[in-house]
Subunit: 294 residues, 2 copies
């Protein structure tokens, strides 16, 4: 029995699945979603919930050999060091999980795991130097350099906070940050600020092509993403940059970013849309469980 349980803890939803290794891939044999547990002790609340979901999956899907759990924020050495969203501060998550479960549990970082999954199973298969850039509420990059995650103690890849030269303030306290104009949340918020029209996310803004407010906000996001891409190409020269997030389902968006990226001598990265969608983190947790990643 070599099935693994995988848990991806998000800000609003916890996704869990049981995977069976098949060839180089993972076959999903069961899944479960729950609203993320909150509590006075956020670390224990999440550890309790993850352990309960793994136990529940084991009861329905049959014996599980190992488990992997991933969370957002700053993760290093078994600690969930910080997550504004979940309220984590130096939570010894690896230990909390080990105390609650009778099987080996690997613990890691959600965006890193998602990048590893896109590398092994998705849009970055076959490449060595990779940036996986999920664009959602914020923007982070999972960097896989020479085939392995580069983590810098959980501090690397904060692409959302590179200065691309605008004057808008960012939640981090600086101005000019990429994510202040190009995250999905920023696109929706900036459209509503300009137009007075409330929208339910960036995809709705992208669907309003031809509306001058929508076009202006999207053009600024495209320019900002192109500037960030130039930066990645200059400093890290990735072979491929994989963009994730519902935003990129809009036709032509990658091509627009590509057109706006002004390279001179730099190696031009291939641009790809993520293939694993919102399952990337969970698949990455499955690979982590298999010991495929640290």
């Amino acid at each position: 029995m070599n099935r693994v349980a995988a848990v991806d803890v998000g800000g609003t939803t916890v996704k869990a699945a049981v995977y069976e290794p098949v060839g180089d891939g993972l076959k999903r044999v069961a899944e479960l979603r729950r609203p993320t547990a909150r509590g006075a002790d956020p670390g224990s609340a999440v550890a309790d919930q993850a352990a309960a979901m793994i136990t529940e999956l084991g009861a329905t899907a049959g014996p599980i050999a190992k488990a992997g759990v991933v969370v957002p924020g700053i993760v290093h050495n078994g600690l969930a060091k910080f997550s504004a969203n979940l309220g984590f501060r130096d939570v010894p998550m690896a230990d909390l999980l080990a105390e609650r479960l009778d099987l080996p549990v690997a613990f890691g970082h959600d965006v890193t795991a998602g990048g590893v999954a896109e590398h092994r199973l998705g849009a970055a298969r076959g490449f060595g130097d990779i940036a996986f850039v999920p664009v959602g509420t914020g923007i982070a990059a999972s960097l896989l350099l020479a085939g392995r995650p580069y983590r810098a103690d959980g501090r690397a890849g904060e692409l959302g906070h590179v200065d691309i030269g605008h004057d808008d303030a960012c939640g981090c306290g600086a101005t000019g940050c990429l994510e202040a104009v190009a995250s999905a949340s920023a696109i929706a918020r900036r459209f509503t600020e300009r137009s007075g029209i409330p929208v339910d996310g960036a995809r709705e803004v992208l669907a309003r092509q031809g509306d001058p407010d929508a076009d202006a906000v999207i053009a600024e996001a495209v320019d900002a993403l192109a500037a960030a891409l130039r930066l990645l190409a200059t400093l890290l020269a990735p072979e491929v940059v994989v963009f994730g997030g519902g935003l990129f389902e809009a036709p032509g968006l990658l091509e627009r970013i590509d057109d706006k990226t002004q390279l001179t001598f730099q190696r031009k990265p291939q641009l790809r849309r993520a293939e694993l969608g919102d399952e990337a983190g969970c698949l990455g947790a499955g690979l982590l469980a298999l010991g495929a990643t640290r």
Copy 2:
């Protein structure tokens, strides 16, 4: 006999040395400098010269076991793929050297080798995530991530060409590049443009503290280096950034850059002055010869 010969080919000078491994270090037992050879076939001219210098050192310093040769530009897989300065285009340098010498020769990249030397023997000893930033005619970074050189086929680390948001043109064809305002050459050139006073390099500009033109040019270079440092901290979170080049012998320059680097949540890198001076590349070639690096 475990002595190694090391050759660092520069745009104007070739430095060569014989080193003897002593403990973790390298003891220099002989050295030689020559103006860089030029010729209709620049690759053969440099290979001839490097081989002749190694042979000459062997004749004076006694038996040599192995050799290492490093060159500037884009270096990958034994090829000197490109160097504007030396006129290299896809020169099979590793093969040219092997044909000319009767001992094992390792071939590599000068700035990468310098970074490895600062890591093993110099200012970055004991760190894992390192940027070595020599500031000279241009600005490049040697990135050592999780303890090893990150190369991206010789394309990584072009820190001199990140856009830090000014309007000056760069030799690469873009505007806004770091090195267009902060390289040693740019500092000297920009001072002369403002003041009409010719100077023999950036150190002379730094020595003119209190002169409004010198102060303005240096303040702009400091701001640009601080912006580049923020980018490194955001994307790669190095533990230490080691600056090289005669410029940094000016007292207080590192502290000024540090003061201007506006970080919010990012890990603050330690800033250090390089310790190995203009011998870093040659020492790195020696380490390369020992098989200590790729």
